[in-house]
C-alpha cells in the first residue's frame, strides 16, 4: 500500500484514540472529590447563585448526558468555558499554547544538538574520558529532580551572578514583538527585531535547558548504544575494507543506521515534554499550558483540564504520525501499510 493510504488510515485512527482519551479524562475529572461549583461561586454565594451556576455548566444532568453535550461542543471547536475566569477554554489555549510549544521545540532541538554529539563522542571514545563524562552527565541529568536543579540555577545564574532572568518569558519593560505565531523567538525574527530575539532567548535559556536535560540523557545513552551496535555490523568492515575514510563511515554509514531508533523516540520525547512542562513552567513561571493546567487543577476547574488533555493528546498523536513518516524516509526498508 502506498503512503497515501497509510496516511489516511493513520489519520482515521486518531478518532477512536481521541474518543477514548476524552472518556477517560472526562470520567476522572468528574470523579474528583470536592465541589468545583461552590469553589467557583465563592464562599459568599447564595443557594440560588449556586443553582444557577450548576445549570449553566450542566452539572445537574447525568454524566453520560454531560459527556455528550461536551463532545458536541468539541466537534464545533468549543472546548467549554472556564468556571474561574469565564474565558472560553479554546481562547486561553490559543494564548498559552505557543509559549509551551516554543519551550518544547527549543528543548527538543537542544536535546538533539547536545545529545547527538555527546553520543557520538562517547561511542567513538568508548570507555575513555569522553564516554565517562557523557555517562556522568546523562546519569545526573536523569536523576536530579528538575525543579530542584531549576531553583539552584535560578539562585546561582539569576540571583547571584545576574546572568539570566529567572522567570517569565519576556522583559515586562519592553514591548512584545508583533504577535504572529505567539512564539516570541519566531515573532521577533519575523519582525527582524534582533534585540527582542536576544531578550526572548535569555528568558528561554534556563527553562529550556532544564526541560532539555531528560532528552539529552535519553538521546546520549540510546544513540551511543546504537552506534556501538552498528559499528559491529558487517557493512562497516566491508566499508573499511573498501578504503572508505573513517569519518565517512562514522558520519554517514554508521550514523544514519544508528539514528533510526532515536528518531522514532523523538515523538515520544516531544509528547513527554509537552505534558512534563508543568514542572518547568511552575518553577520558571513560564506562562504556558502547563501553568494554565496547574492553576485550573487547583481550582478543580475541569473544563480547561479536559480541553488541555484533549489538545495535548491530539498533538501527541499527530507528532507521532509525523515521526513515523520521517522514519520511513531514513529507513528504506519500512513499508507503509
Amino acid at each position: 500500500m502506498g503512503l497515501r493510504y497509510y496516511l489516511l488510515r493513520r489519520l482515521l485512527l486518531i478518532i477512536p484514540v481521541l474518543i477514548g482519551l476524552s472518556i477517560v479524562t472526562f470520567v476522572i475529572s468528574h470523579m474528583i472529590p470536592g465541589d468545583p461549583i461552590s469553589l467557583a461561586a465563592g464562599p459568599q454565594a447564595t443557594a440560588e447563585q449556586i443553582l444557577k451556576l450548576q445549570e449553566e455548566f450542566g452539572v445537574d444532568k447525568p454524566l453520560p448526558m454531560q459527556y455528550l453535550t461536551y463532545m458536541k461542543g468539541v466537534l464545533r471547536g468549543n472546548l467549554g468555558t472556564s468556571m474561574m475566569n469565564r474565558h472560553p477554554v479554546s481562547m486561553d489555549l490559543r494564548r498559552y499554547f505557543p509559549a509551551t510549544l516554543e519551550l518544547v521545540l527549543v528543548s527538543t532541538v537542544l536535546g538533539v544538538i547536545i545529545g547527538v554529539p555527546m553520543a557520538m563522542a562517547a561511542a567513538v571514545f568508548r570507555d575513555r574520558w569522553p564516554d565517562q563524562v557523557s555517562r556522568i552527565v546523562a546519569l545526573s541529568s536523569i536523576s536530579m529532580p528538575v525543579f530542584w536543579l531549576g531553583m539552584i540555577l535560578q539562585l546561582v545564574l539569576g540571583m547571584t551572578w545576574h546572568l539570566l532572568p529567572i522567570s517569565g518569558r519576556f522583559d515586562p519593560r519592553v514591548p512584545f514583538p508583533p504577535n504572529v505565531t505567539g512564539m516570541l523567538l519566531v515573532d521577533s525574527l519575523l519582525a527582524a527585531d534582533l534585540e527582542s530575539f536576544r531578550i526572548a532567548l535569555k528568558y528561554m535559556a534556563l527553562p529550556a535547558f532544564c526541560q532539555a536535560l531528560f532528552g539529552i540523557a535519553l538521546i546520549t545513552r540510546l544513540l551511543r548504544a546504537d552506534i556501538l551496535e552498528v559499528m559491529q555490523r558487517d557493512f562497516v568492515v566491508m566499508a573499511r575494507a573498501s578504503g572508505l575514510p573513517e569519518r565517512v563511515i562514522l558520519f554517514k554509514y554508521v550514523l544514519k543506521n544508528a539514528l533510526i531508533a532515536t528518531v522514532a523516540m523523538l515523538g515520544f520525547l516531544f509528547g513527554w515534554q509537552l505534558s512534563g512542562s508543568v514542572m518547568i513552567e511552575t518553577v520558571f513561571d513560564w506562562p504556558g499550558v502547563g501553568l494554565y493546567a496547574v492553576k485550573s487543577a487547583m481550582t478543580l476547574d475541569f473544563q480547561p483540564i479536559m480541553g488541555i488533555t484533549l489538545f495535548v493528546g491530539l498533538l501527541f498523536t499527530i507528532v507521532n504520525l509525523l515521526v513515523d513518516i520521517s522514519y520511513g524516509v531514513i529507513d528504506p526498508r519500512i513499508r507503509y501499510g
Binding site: 557493512f235 568492515v237 566499508a239 573499511r240 578504503g243 572508505l244 554517514k252 529507513d331 526498508r333
Partner: protein
C-alpha cells in the same frame, strides 16, 4: 624480496582479549601468495582463516585483538607499520575483499549506487573522498564533485553490467533489500573489483548463498580473476572448490598454518597428519560432495591451547616431543611445499 611474491605473512601471532582470558587466536602463521595464484585457505571453523585474511588488510579489530608478533608484507611493503592513511589507500586501491554474507555486507539505508560511488570515489585522498561521500547527491551542485560523481557512477554501471546485472541503469538506485542474495553478492563483487586491485580476498563467498547460485558466483569470480589478472586468497570449507580453482593450498589448524603447498602436492601427497585426515575425510560417493568431515577429537580451546604442536591431542602419530618442545617450525617437504610437524624435522 622476490617481485613475484605478492603477500608474505611471517610468524604472525594474534591474541584476543576476552572476558575469560587471552585467546591465542593465531600462533606463528606463515603464508605466501604468489602473483597470479589462487591460494585456497582451508581449515575447521574457528581456526583463524578470517583473521589471517583480515591481517593482510590490517582490519583486525584492535582492541580486543592484538598482534603480538610477526610481519605482514604486501607487494614487499610492511603492512603493520604503515600510517592509517597509507593503509586506507592501499585497501582502496590494491585490495579487493568479498565477504561471506552479502546481505549484511551492504548498508541497508543507502542505495547500492550511493555505496558504490562512495567506494569508487574513495580511491583518492581523504578530503576529496569525504567531500564526495558526505555530500551525497547534493554534491552534484559543485562542479568538481559532480564530475567525480558522474565518473564514479559510470564506472559502477559498467561493473554492474560486467557481473551480470543487465538492467544496471534501473537497478543502481535500488536499495540492497530489493535484490536477491545472489544479486547482492554480484553487487559486492562489482564493488570490490571496480578499482585496480592486485589481490582479491574472498572469505567464503558462496557459503550464504543457495546451492544453485554458488556455482554461478564461483564461475563469475574465476572469469574476473582471469580477466583482471588477480591473485586470490580464497577461504572455503569446500575442498572440491579448492581442487577445482586453486593452484596453492594452505591448511590451518587452531591458529597455525600446518601445511602449505601446490594443490597437487596437498591433494596427492599430503604430509601433515591433519591434512592427511582431511583428505581421508573427503567423502567419495553417496554423501554430500566435498564437505570437510570430522577428524576424531575436538578443536582445542584457544584460551589454553595444547603446548607444543596444537594438534597433538588428536594426532595418531603424536610423539612425546610433540607435547614437550615448542611448536614445530615449517620445514620444506619439497619445492614450495612446507609442513609444520616433527615427523619431518
Amino acid at each position: 624480496m622476490d617481485n613475484d611474491l605478492l603477500v608474505e605473512i611471517k610468524d604472525l601471532r594474534l591474541n584476543f582479549r576476552t572476558f575469560d582470558g587471552i585467546s591465542k587466536v593465531l600462533n606463528r602463521v606463515n603464508l605466501k601468495i604468489w602473483r597470479g595464484d589462487i591460494l585456497g585457505l582451508v581449515g575447521e571453523t574457528g581456526c583463524g582463516k578470517t583473521m589471517t585474511a583480515l591481517s593482510i588488510a590490517r582490519l583486525i579489530p584492535c582492541p580486543p585483538g592484538e598482534i603480538v608478533g610477526g610481519e605482514v608484507f604486501f607487494e614487499g611493503e610492511d603492512v603493520l607499520h604503515k600510517t592509517d592513511e597509507e593503509m586506507r589507500l592501499l585497501r582502496a586501491q590494491k585490495l579487493a575483499m568479498i565477504f561471506q554474507d552479502p546481505t549484511t555486507s551492504l548498508n541497508p539505508v543507502f542505495t547500492i549506487g550511493d555505496q558504490m560511488i562512495d567506494i569508487i570515489g574513495s580511491r583518492t585522498d581523504t578530503s576529496k573522498a569525504s567531500r564526495l561521500s558526505m555530500l551525497g547527491s547534493l554534491g552534484s551542485l559543485i562542479p568538481t564533485v559532480r564530475k567525480l560523481r558522474r565518473g564514479a557512477r559510470e564506472r559502477a554501471l559498467e561493473m554492474l553490467r560486467r557481473v551480470g546485472i543487465g538492467d544496471a541503469a534501473e537497478r543502481i538506485d535500488d536499495y540492497p533489500h530489493q535484490f536477491s542474495g545472489g544479486m547482492r553478492q554480484r553487487v559486492l563483487i562489482a564493488t570490490a573489483l571496480s578499482g585496480t586491485p592486485s589481490l582479491l580476498i574472498a572469505d567464503e563467498p558462496t557459503t550464504a548463498l543457495d546451492v544453485s547460485i554458488q556455482a554461478q558466483i564461483l564461475r563469475l569470480i574465476e572469469e574476473l580473476v582471469d580477466e583482471l589478472n588477480l591473485s586470490v586468497l580464497l577461504i572455503t570449507h569446500n575442498l572440491g572448490v579448492v581442487a577445482k580453482m586453486c593452484q596453492k593450498v594452505a591448511v590451518m589448524y587452531a591458529g597455525v598454518v600446518v601445511e602449505y603447498g601446490s594443490a597437487i602436492d596437498i591433494f596427492k601427497s599430503p604430509k601433515h597428519p591433519y591434512t592427511i585426515g582431511l583428505m581421508r575425510a573427503i567423502p567419495t560417493y553417496g554423501t554430500k560432495k566435498g564437505e570437510i568431515k570430522g577428524i576424531p577429537g575436538t578443536v582445542p580451546n584457544l584460551l589454553d591451547p595444547p603446548r607444543g604442536c596444537r594438534f597433538h591431542p588428536r594426532c595418531e602419530h603424536a610423539m612425546p616431543r610433540c607435547a614437550e618442545e615448542p611448536a614445530p617450525a615449517p620445514v620444506a617437504a619439497g619445492p614450495d611445499h612446507e609442513v609444520s610437524c616433527f615427523l619431518y624435522s
